[in-house]
């Protein structure tokens, strides 16, 4: 059975949206655009970067993100899920570790142990945005996730931990986390691609993988940087004397050809426009949010 891919407007009704896709397709731009869209409808939004946070920060018009959420772009809260900080907080809050700041050595030793046992690190890092969702302080938590291959290891982590740790707090949390991710009413994955060959292949692979292992519902596919049509044919430009105009048209037509082929395979994808000449990442996310709004 093909996984049901909801129309994009629906992802805004979820409590947790995970944004992923191939490297370089504009995941962070779409993450922030989605956050802007949700915030404009009056929802309290948290953007949680599960990557190094550079992309999300740039698209929020910020220098960098920190573990402590800060407010950007109006009312959007954003944070970086720093691995070490997430583990320290987990130990403090979930395991009631002594409130006194853990020594550096202790903290580092725990990092090594957690890195060695498969799945634990992912459960704790991914657990942070899910925990924030449970806290109820936000209506929508949007995760700026790593590329899809890496994200799969996060999504598989709860099962890995369940198979590894017979009892205890982490196992319980992993179970709750898996249930939350698998519940299509709560969580959705938003796949971002561009209308190019390699991103299309990775997106298809992700859809197929999630069909075999339904770890999270696919809430939508965004085709980013979709070019506008051009009412010319290769014939029209074959004998043009004006070289730059002809070259630009040929360039556009060649890209369009690939785009048409790719998008035919993804009829469910929501197109977001290629933004010609837009300079700063913060402007990009605002333009994308506007384009998104115009479509609905």
């Amino acid at each position: 059975m093909a996984p049901a891919i909801a129309s994009l407007g629906m992802v805004l009704d979820r409590s947790l949206v995970i944004v992923s896709g191939k490297g370089g397709v504009g995941k962070s731009a779409v993450t922030v655009a989605l956050a802007l869209r949700a915030q404009r409808t009056g929802r309290r939004v948290l953007v949680a970067a599960l990557t190094n946070g550079i992309g999300a920060a740039a698209h929020l018009g910020a220098e960098r993100l920190a573990y402590e959420p800060a407010t950007f772009h109006g009312e959007i809260q954003a944070m970086l899920v720093d691995r070490a900080a997430a583990l320290d907080e987990y130990l403090r809050v979930q395991l009631r570790a002594p409130a006194a700041a853990p020594t550096r050595t202790l903290s580092k030793a725990m990092q090594v142990l957690v890195d060695t046992a498969p799945g634990i690190r992912e459960v704790i890092s991914m657990g942070k945005p899910i925990f924030d969702m449970w806290q109820g302080e936000y209506d929508l938590v949007i995760v700026d996730a790593p590329p899809i291959g890496q994200l799969m290891s996060y999504l598989r982590a709860p099962a890995v931990v369940a198979g590894l740790v017979p009892t205890g707090a982490v196992r319980n949390q992993a179970g709750r986390m898996a249930a939350a991710l698998e519940d299509p009413e709560q969580a959705a994955l938003l796949l971002v691609m561009t209308p190019e060959e390699l991103p299309a292949i990775e997106t298809r692979r992700a859809i197929d993988d999630l069909e075999v292992e339904p770890l999270v519902a696919i809430g939508g596919i965004v085709a980013n940087r979709v070019l506008p049509p051009l009412e010319l044919t290769a014939r029209d430009i074959a004998h043009l004397p004006n070289r730059p105009a002809a070259a630009a048209a040929a360039h556009h037509l060649a890209l369009l050809e690939t785009q048409t082929t790719v998008l035919a395979d993804f009829p469910e994808a929501t197109p977001l426009p290629y933004l010609f000449g837009v300079r700063t990442p913060a402007e990009v996310s605002v333009h994308l949010a506007d384009a998104w709004e115009d479509m609905v």
Partner: protein
């Protein structure tokens, strides 16, 4: 024996590192140098072009059909770590390590392990004397910078204070973890992982420590290899990729690695910025003018991005045109390098 030339292509995800590596490899081999391209996760199309069998990563290079003295290999991290273990540990310990369920975890998930495996694999290939030039496509982990940090990180992990503290001072004794000074942490670790798992991990980490001497020596050799490699940092005009590229230029010198050039991929022609479209009044002319205006704005942004990063980094810049179709065979890869501005001199210098 002459040391082979090492070319390392690094940069953010999605900037075309793998295609650039393949193109550079193809071009160097065309001049007759025995060349190896090592890639990490090639797309099917590129793997087909290079004749790499994706399904079976064995770390065994194979000739690229129709490309002269060019070989290609895809890095298999688990296979690399098995080889690393066999090289650096006593046979009995190596067997135990490879058979341990956490072994795969370390190979797959330690942030530095994938990158370290790539480095050690390059060192192996360099030592074999089978190639004059080795072109390395860096793993995507942490934007590629991990690749350069991995040797010291692995050395720190395996020989470091933390592991000693966790597993006790003496190597031969097992289960020392329960007799160390690590008691407050043990209570925590025990609550987190459970005592059975904790014990298994401790045993595993003890075995891992026995790799230290071999690994430390090899890590130093990899550092030297990287120090004399030609490092090419690839970027596109997207802000994320440019930021990432900037980070290489600030971080690599701290690791005694000097980037040789910046490769700006997907360059648009400057001529589009100021060009005017046809003056005609029919709809085709209007369409051409509108399209040129769009791409002119894009070309301006592209040029400004190049100027900005060139001014910031003060380094030779190679520009690779934005190709209408990505290269999908050996000839296309060579054409890409030929169409690039500033890449051929690097190819010639490397090919010697």
């Amino acid at each position: 024996m002459r040391h082979p030339e090492i070319v390392i292509i690094t940069g953010a995800g999605g900037v075309g590192k793998t295609t650039l590596s393949a193109g550079i490899g193809v071009s160097i081999a065309r001049s007759g140098a025995r060349t190896l391209v090592m890639t990490v996760d090639p797309a099917r199309r590129l793997a087909d072009a290079l004749g790499i069998e994706i399904a079976h990563g064995t770390n065994r290079p194979a000739p690229v059909p129709g490309a002269g003295p060019l070989d290609a290999v895809m890095l298999d991290v688990t296979a690399s770590w098995e080889a690393i273990t066999a090289r650096h540990a006593e046979p009995e310990v190596a067997d135990r390590l490879v058979g341990n369920p956490y072994f795969r975890a370390v190979a797959d998930r330690f942030p530095a392990a994938q990158s370290y495996a790539a480095g050690e694999q390059v060192a192996e290939f360099a030592q074999s004397g089978d190639w004059d030039v080795i072109v390395v496509d860096t793993p995507p982990a942490a934007g590629g910078i991990d690749f350069f940090m991995a040797p010291r990180r692995m050395r720190e992990l395996v020989g470091g204070r933390i592991l000693r503290w966790l597993t006790g001072a003496r190597l031969p004794g097992r289960r020392l973890i329960y007799r160390t000074t690590a008691r407050p942490m043990l209570r925590l670790a025990d609550a987190l992982l459970g005592s059975a798992l904790l014990e298994e991990i401790a045993d595993f980490l003890l075995d891992l420590r026995s790799l230290y001497d071999g690994l430390a020596a090899r890590a130093a050799a990899i550092d030297r290899l990287m120090g004399r490699a030609r490092v090419l940092v690839a970027t596109t005009d997207t802000p994320g990729a440019m930021h990432e590229a900037g980070r290489f230029f600030t971080t690599l010198p701290e690791l005694d690695v000097t980037p040789a050039a910046l490769i700006f991929n997907r360059t648009l022609p400057d001529a589009w910025i100021t060009a005017r479209g046809p003056r005609g009044t029919d709809s085709a002319d209007a369409e051409l003018r509108g399209n040129l205006a769009r791409w002119g704005a894009e070309a301006r942004r592209n040029r400004d991005a190049r100027l900005e990063i060139a001014a910031r980094l003060q380094i030779p810049m190679v520009t690779v045109p934005w190709l209408r179709q990505p290269p999908n065979d050996v000839a296309g890869l060579a054409d890409m390098v030929a169409a690039a501005d500033g890449l051929s001199p690097i190819v010639v210098a490397v090919a010697g």
